[in-house]
Amino acid sequence: MAKTVLIVEDNELNMKLFRDLLEAHGYNTAAARNGMEALTLARKYRPDLILMDIQLPEVSGLEVTRWIKDDPVLHATPVVAVTAFAMKGDEERIREGGCEAYLSKPISVGKFIETVRRFIG
């Protein structure tokens, strides 16, 4: 059965990029544009992996990650941060926020898929 990846991303172009990339590699995808939607969809689809943009409208991706990690059902779901925050210290801060992995934008397609595979095969 195909694995499901929840993409949390507010930029349409980037959303399309991640979606097409993942679907081309045979994954199912769900798309959330903000934090609240991300939590709702995560509960609905129980994804195998969550790709999390950090800068989101309303609630930051770090906050959403915290909710997921505190959720009794979702807490085991791996969260990979995909963010354009690539300054010194950003990766540490994001990993401390509970994300299992960190990918900085612009992504390399190879590394992106490799990281996804590492978590869900």
Partner: protein
């Protein structure tokens, strides 16, 4: 005048080293030695003359003259040892022994020499020592008692002196006695004079200190009550010292500093030195503006206090007191405050710079992600099974992202040009109303997409103006697109323009999310968008308003931002109808809160540009 000076120099040479540095002690030593040395030497000088007149001397005469060596020995003793009290005691003993011996030989208590016993306590009076005076008085009284007892019990030898010689002795004795008394009187007078003049010197020294020292010295009870405060305090606080006694000073200590003030005093009372800075209320002299009330303000005072040293022998009767020195350090405090302000400002500027870089990096990376990602997918089109239609779509997306990236780069370039003063304004006449309407038309679609109503209110009679029409359009597009972006569905953005005096007033009002007071201060800083970093609600570079601010400034205009969270934001721009170049380089981020202009709970801040 030479002889006294010579004598004085000789005497100074004889002073014991320990007596040389204290004026009063050296005066006493001189007063001890001078009459003794002079008397003895004079007597020696007179001895040959006496012998020539009297012929062979009697035993008593030899004894008396022999005894005249004693004062020289005593002076020598003092000169060598510096023991002034001992010298006085020895002197009393020598004189007593002489008088007693002579008196025994010359008729006891009736002798011409007996009245010399008076000299013993008198001489001791010069010692200024109660012990010496007591000893000398007791000695003289004992000698008198001894003489009386000797004549009562009749153990006195028969006087060897003939009545004729006795008369001569009487004359000599009285004359020498009066001379001696005169010497004593002179010595006493000169000692008194010296001590009085020393007192004056001391007093002058203290007066000099008190008059020229701006520090205030005070004595406190351990609970802080003032028991003494130096008059310099009037200079410092504008109130007489008498009004600060007791709790008068404490009442002037700033309420917030009172605990520190009391702690310092009680620490000092426990014999730890303490130092404290506190504020004191000062009364300014009444002036013409406020003739009725004395204006009060606070000065910073540094106080050092310690337990007061107590005079020996008084420990048991006095409670511990604290002596304090206060100094006005207001200027120093003001400098420290300015330094702090400068430091905070620098830190803020550094933080803003870091923030600027982080945001710029973010804004560049977001479109780059799409460009690199999609192009990489096309590279692997076979693996990913991308057909021609998909490829075209990706090419379009890459192009779109590239355009966005270009606009970000242009924005950054415009910003940096404006910040470095290289953005050129090309003034020409143009019709502001038409420019405004065309900008609004450009954005009408975006507004409709977002469900926002865009209303324009521009009277038809707005005159032509001179300025840079590109800059004018840029200002409007940035303001209106910001307003549309930050307004929820169903909201309204109103763009209005009218002429006020020689200026065109443009207002862009929205019913959007609003800006918090804290963020309002920073609005217009490059890349700044209200709200927390990771929690950005709206896309954008954060450069729009910053560019507006600079363009308005380049037109010698003024920009004002008013906002209330949840109710909306109004940006007003005033531009001169005829362009005048700013006289001085434009300063970015000169934002000032308008504390006084609060409208019924609405916080208003103003972004002012200097002309």
């Amino acid at each position: 005048m030479i002889v006294p000076k010579l004598i004085r120099d000789c005497l100074d040479a004889l002073l014991h080293p320990s007596a040389r540095y204290d004026a009063l002690v050296s005066a006493r030593h001189r007063a001890f030695m001078a009459p003794r040395l002079l008397g003895s030497l004079a007597a020696f000088a007179a001895f040959p003359v006496y012998l020539a007149m009297r012929g062979a001397p009697t035993a008593i005469e030899v004894l008396v003259f022999g005894w005249l060596i004693a004062p020289i020995l005593l002076s020598y003793f003092l000169s060598r040892t510096g023991r002034y009290e001992s010298a006085h005691v020895l002197s009393s003993l020598a004189l007593t022994a002489l008088v007693l011996t002579v008196a025994f030989k010359t008729g006891g208590v009736d002798s011409f020499i007996a009245f010399w016993l008076i000299a013993i306590p008198l001489e001791a009076a010069l010692s200024a020592s109660r012990r010496v005076v007591g000893f000398a008085s007791a000695l003289a009284l004992s000698a008198v008692a001894l003489l009386i007892a000797a004549s009562y019990f009749d153990v006195m030898p028969v006087s060897e002196v003939t009545p004729a010689a006795e008369r001569i002795f009487m004359v000599i004795g009285i004359a020498s006695g009066v001379l001696y008394a005169a010497g004593l009187a002179y010595g006493a007078e000169s000692l008194t004079r010296i001590s009085v003049s020393l007192l004056y010197v001391e007093e002058d020294r203290y007066r000099l200190l008190a008059r020229n020292m701006s520090d205030v010295i005070s004595r406190h009870h351990r609970n802080g009550a003032v028991e003494f405060i130096s008059p310099a305090v009037e200079q410092m606080l504008g109130v007489p010292a008498s009004r600060l006694m007791g709790h008068g000073l404490f009442d002037r200590v700033h309420v917030a500093d009172r605990p520190a003030f009391l702690t310092a005093l009680s620490d000092a009372a426990r014999s730890e030195e303490a130092r404290v800075d506190f504020r004191l209320r000062r009364d300014r002299p009444r002036n013409a503006d406020h003739p009725r009330e004395a204006v009060a303000d606070f000065i910073w005072v540094e106080m050092r206090c310690r337990l007061m040293e107590q005079a020996p022998g008084q420990q048991e009767m006095r409670k511990p007191e604290v002596v304090a020195v206060m100094r006005d350090v207001t200027d120093r405090k003001a400098q420290e405050h300015d330094l702090d302000g400068a430091r905070i400002e620098t830190e803020r500027a550094n933080a803003a710079k870091t923030q600027f870089l982080a945001t710029m990096s973010h804004e560049l990376r977001t479109p780059l992600n799409a460009i690199i990602g999609f192009s990489e997918m096309i590279v692997h089109e076979d693996e990913l099974m991308i057909n021609a239609e998909r490829r075209r779509e990706y090419a379009k997306l890459i192009n779109e992202s590239g355009q966005h990236l270009l606009s970000v780069v242009n924005g950054i370039l415009d910003m940096s040009k404006m910040e470095s003063g290289k953005f050129e304004i090309v003034p020409e006449p143009f019709a502001p109303r038409e420019a405004l309407l065309s900008c609004c038309n450009l954005l009408a679609l975006k507004a409709r997409d977002g469900g926002v109503e865009l209303v324009t209110r521009t009277p038809a009679d707005i005159p032509e103006m001179t300025g840079d029409p590109r800059a004018f359009k840029q200002i409007l597009i940035n303001l209106v697109s910001n307003a549309v972006k930050f307004t929820e569905q169903g909201g309204t953005v109103t763009v209005s323009a009218h002429v006020e005096g020689a200026r065109l007033m443009v207002r862009v009002a929205d019913t959007g999310v609003g800006i918090s007071a804290d963020d309002l201060r920073r609005i217009g800083d490059p890349f700044f968008q209200a709200g927390k970093t990771y929690q950005r609600r709206h896309e954008g570079t954060g450069l729009g308003l910053s560019i507006v601010k600079s363009l308005v400034a380049l037109h010698n205009g003024e920009m004002t931002v008013e906002s209330k969270i949840g109710e909306g934001t109004t940006v007003s721009v005033a531009l001169p109808l005829s362009f005048v170049a700013p006289a001085e380089p434009v300063e970015i981020s000169n934002v000032r809160p308008l504390g006084a202009a609060l409208r019924s709970g609405q916080q208003t801040y103003q972004v002012r540009k200097r002309a």
